[in-house]
Amino acid sequence: MRALAFLLVFASGGAWALESGAPLPPLSAPALGDPAHKVAFGDTKGSVVYVDFWASWCAPCRQSMPLLQSLQQRYGARGLRVIGVNKDVSVADAHRFLRTVPVDFTLVQDAGDALAHAFDVKAMPSGYLADRHGVVRFVHRGFTAESGAALEREILSLLDETR
């Protein structure tokens, strides 16, 4: 029975994964709550970018979002740019969540799943850390206190890179 289940897992999934070394997808997305304003990933060259997929229904996001807010505040001046991609079906749910976990980094909405497909999101939350050249260098699937600490070390190493 288990062998059959394993076969099905391999047959059904196993798509390509956006892993370290790939460039940030050259897409743009509407800002959360202000669809006329578009945010383009191509405009981020020169900054260290962390793209984080989150949602109001994602329990670990209650811990990851304040951490990202703290990282943005501490390293924003040195060139860190956090972009939160919201996966809620209803914007009202996202706003309700943000009332309890307020952040002021860039927030965009991904209603049509274009970004989720391009980044091949395999877990919630998911984070993609790109260097100043726009190349994804670290991928975070899920969030724990340990992964949060590792993220901070990775951000510092990318901010310090001169080339």
């Binding site: 099905l8 047959a11 059904s12 229904w57 749910d93 999101v121 919630m124 939350p125 969030f143």
Partner: protein, 66 residues
């Protein structure tokens, strides 16, 4: 009975809800059990008057985060 089980496992190959599409599945009313306190209380009411018992919750569903 065995055919039902095979059907369930085969369903695993056909159905795939992406991790970022689990908003509705994460709702509290989509949980397979009532809240822990209410569930413990309900366990007291019916089994004490009936001969049948058992059938336990086995996890799964929900937001599937992390």
């Amino acid at each position: 009975m065995k055919r039902t089980w095979i059907a369930f496992l085969l369903l695993g190959g056909c159905v795939h809800v992406a991790p970022y599409d689990r908003g509705y599945l994460a709702r509290p009313d989509m949980a397979l059990d009532a809240g822990l306190g209410t569930a413990r209380a309900l366990e007291k009411i019916h089994p004490s008057k009936e001969a049948a018992s058992g059938g336990a919750s086995v996890g799964g569903g929900g937001c599937g985060c992390n």
